[in-house]
Amino acid sequence: METLENSNTDNSGYESAEKIILRWDSTASEEGRERMIFGTDRQEADVYLQAVDEIQRSLSSASISDCSHNVDADDQSKVNTTIQIAMARLEDEFRNILIIHTSALEIDSLFDSSTLFSSSTPTHHDLEDDEDCISDDSGNSRNNLLQLHHCESSDSSTYRTSSSIRKVDLMPAEAICDLQAIAMRMIAAGYLRECVQVYGSVRKSSVDSSFRKLGIEKLSIGDVQRLEWEALEGKIRRWIRAARVCVRILFASEKKLCEQIFDCVGTDIDDASFMETVKVPASQLFNFAEAISISRRSPEKLFKILDLHDALMELLPDIEAVFDSKSSDSIRVQAAETLSRLAEAARGILSEFENAVLREPSRVPVPGGTIHPLTRYVMNYISLISDYKPTLIELIMSKPSTGSRYSGDPSTPDMEFTELEGKTPLALHLIWIIVVLQFNLDGKSKHYRDVSLAHLFMMNNVHYIVHKVKGSPELREMIGDDCLRKLTRKFRQAATSYQRATWVSVLYCLRDEGLHVSGSFSSGVSKTALRERFKTFNAMFEEVHRTQSMWLIPNGQLREELRISISEKLLPAYRSFLGRFRSHIESGKHPENYIKYSAEDLETAVLDFFEGYPAS
């Protein structure tokens, strides 16, 4: 190590400073290139900085040197050159310190950080019911609502976080000290721009690699449009987690670093260096959420979009805290705009869903009159909607736009909005959806050739609606008991209609009139007519038994109730008929051809009804 020239005159102070600077000029000397000043020897660094200060001092002081040549301009120029050499060197040192101490954040540990999330148990939702979702109409179009079979669990629990920002020290204190010292000199010499630029380029590169570790991809809007929604769901989930880390930790910490290094020279500068570092990455981050908010509306997207909306809304205060300067306007604005677009998208999807339910076109009747996949899908969907009630109740602000009372349009149902005063718009939408669902199902029921089956179908499906509503307190509260009563009435009516359609004619066989012949001698019974009756009854019952065992009422209770109701009408009638007329048959030939069944036989046979047995 060379010793400094010891001198006690200004001039030699300047000269020795100049020597030091020139020694470290990397464009000129070999030694200057081979090692760095900072980071090897504390003293070297201090000496160098002192030298820079000395040169600076002489630049700003009126008298430069005692030089006998007295060519001010020359000296001035030399000083300027020396300064430039020093600044170029300091710029390299600055960059070097930044690079050496740049290590990507330990991303995995950040994800587990409990400061990011408050405790609340995420609820798991499935769009698929316990009962298996049968899909018919496999030939239908791709856009058929029924294609959706599952929806991943939502992380839609509300995270109430207050000071969720966590600033991490990105660099050791010593490095920051050095950086500060260098920055001060560069800025004092008028080299602010170079300083900020070097800072920005190294830090931006670090942010970029953190982004890659967080799994943030560079997807264009076109890419997002082309991807399958299922793939996008995964990306959205990942984005939500990544965005939280980015805003609350990554960006916040970068901001802190800027403050640490540049605060002593002015807030404008630390703002500028912060923006230089994060402006492009932040915009890139929010581009993804923006792309999602622009994607085509379709029903299965609702819940993930709500998740994204909620996550972004929750992040907004932190975004505003981190990006609080004027120059970061554009980022705040982009986040806020994206949030409102997501809200719009949610509203649009709800409308889209309502329309899709109304227009769902499948015509092939569900075999056995059981629950239509559309019913299942819709009821699961609106149960899920009721789970998202806290968010949706804020987002949905207007009544359903389709369906007016006096539209006179036969292709849409009417809805009485007046008697639904005091209901939130969200509740109105849910009720409307149920109305529309029924309307559609009504249309579908007409495709059954057997009218009884049509009624059974309606009974099954409306009952299922009631069952699902009752099963969810939120849903029940929104739909309201009035509505529920109406629905209950409807499925009971359907049950009654079914019974009438099937059994009236069967029981007709067991009527009294027409059997008695009144003659002058005897009030007797027409044996022929009686035999006819028995034969007809048997044939009819067998036919009903054959077909209706293949029909299905999935709900056990309902199935029981209907069978009991049938039995209650059938068995007494048959017993009484048998009681009155069996003797007449038994007194004739081949009674077994006519009295095939006992009441107990019938009772047993009824147990086969609505079991959904396969065709034999």
Partner: protein, 401 residues
């Protein structure tokens, strides 16, 4: 309506105004449509066509040193926004027609086109950010060589020139095509006496950070291509046939017009501003019969010509201010390389002259670059909004509000 004849694109544009749709248009005029009278519909369509033509005529009648300048590009975006607004109004006024085939398909196609333009908008914003980085480097040069220093007047010495040269070299590298950046880096390191041998961290990282500068700047994946995106926007963009015009009550024409305007504006933006894989070979087949065909085709040709000029062939963007930045920095670089100290009076004057030019370029950038970025963002928003509105009104189906 007489069919006026347009000469080649080089002739002065005197025949703007009258709609030039094929004669069959008269049949539409004569027909009384059962839905909203075709008379009012035709008037607004014609007015729209005329407005588009007038605006592009204005854009086309600028001298060549104004073409593709920042103020001109801003004006182009204004024109787009105006056309877009009027188009929206036409759709709104004819909503019943819009929902019926074949118009519903045409408009759905149009919206798909506009979505593709969104990525171009984002890419352009990246490009503007690039230009901003160059602006910052030039500001360093100005700081070094300009005489705006506080305090004393000083003559330019070696220090200032070294400082300026450093920034100019960074600028030259930054403005190069990606494929050439490797060579340029070596050059840069050489001129500062460094060798690309193993050495300190600093050199390797320096190399890396410069080489990566590009990929850091683009917020799209490596495979995204502006050229391909433009081709996608122009895909299947064809003038409506007579029967289509009839079937849509004339609405097919403004749809085609707006589609062409969109394509042209996006193409011009890509021509002007740096972005990933800038290719200008997109097919641009506009039949001359429309009142706006001539001005747009004229502009298209002028811009293409500009791109083929020897000194602009490898430019990363045709923006006039980029050209000025390149020229300025090249001249200053040559000066800085050739200068001897102390400066002769002649040299000093030359430097001052170049610095003055530099100042003018920087002023232009300071004035217009940020507003341009805001406008691009506004274009983005309007496109999204009009598409959302359009798709929503379809979703409502046949139900009136």
């Amino acid at each position: 309506m007489p069919a006026t004849d347009y000469q080649g694109t080089s002739s002065p544009l005197t025949n703007i105004g009258r709609s030039l749709l094929p004669v069959r248009r008269d049949q539409v005029h004569a027909m009384e449509s059962p839905i909203g009278g075709s008379a009012s519909n035709e008037a607004e369509i014609e007015s729209f066509q005329r407005q588009v033509a007038d605006r592009f005529h204005d854009l086309a009648s600028v001298p060549s040193d104004e073409l593709l300048s920042l103020p001109w590009v801003r004006k182009l975006l204004d024109v787009f926004l105006c056309c877009q607004e009027e188009f929206r109004v036409i759709l709104f006024n004819n909503i019943a027609l819009v929902k019926k085939p074949p118009m519903d398909r045409l408009i759905a196609d149009f919206y798909e086109r506009t979505v593709k333009a969104l990525d171009v908008c984002n890419a352009i914003r990246d490009g503007i950010e690039q230009i901003r980085q160059w602006q910052k480097l030039l500001e360093i040069v100005l700081c070094a060589l300009g005489d705006s220093n506080v305090g004393y007047q000083r003559s330019l010495g070696e220090g200032q020139f070294r400082r300026a040269r450093k920034a100019l070299i960074d600028l030259a590298i930054g403005m190069l095509d990606e494929k050439d950046s490797g060579q340029a880096l070596a050059h840069r390191n050489r001129s500062f006496g460094r060798h690309n041998t193993s050495g300190s961290h600093s050199k390797d990282h320096h190399h890396r950070s410069l080489g990566h500068f590009r990929s850091l700047s683009w917020s799209v994946s490596r495979s995204w291509s502006a050229a391909r995106q433009l081709q996608a926007i122009g895909n299947n963009l064809a003038a409506p046939r007579g029967n289509e015009v009839l079937a849509t009550n004339g609405l097919a024409v403004p749809v085609y017009t707006m589609g062409s305007v969109l394509l042209f504006v996006m193409w011009a933006l890509v021509a002007a501003i740096p972005c990933q894989d800038r290719g200008l070979q997109v097919h641009f087949n506009v039949p001359r019969q429309f009142p706006w065909s001539a001005p747009i085709l004229c502009l298209h040709e002028r811009i293409l010509e500009e791109s083929k000029r020897r000194d602009r062939k490898n430019a990363c963007g045709l923006l006039r201010e980029i050209y000025q930045m390149e020229k300025c920095s090249r001249l200053l670089g040559e000066l800085a390389d050739s200068v001897q100290f102390p400066l002769s009076e002649d040299k000093e004057r030359e430097v001052k002259q170049r610095v003055k030019e530099l100042e003018q370029v920087l002023d232009a950038l300071k004035e217009d670059l940020e507003p341009l970025e805001k406008q691009v963002r506004e274009v983005f928003h309007r496109i999204v909004r009009s598409r959302t509105e359009g798709l929503d009104s379809f979703a409502r189906g046949h139900n009136p509000e």
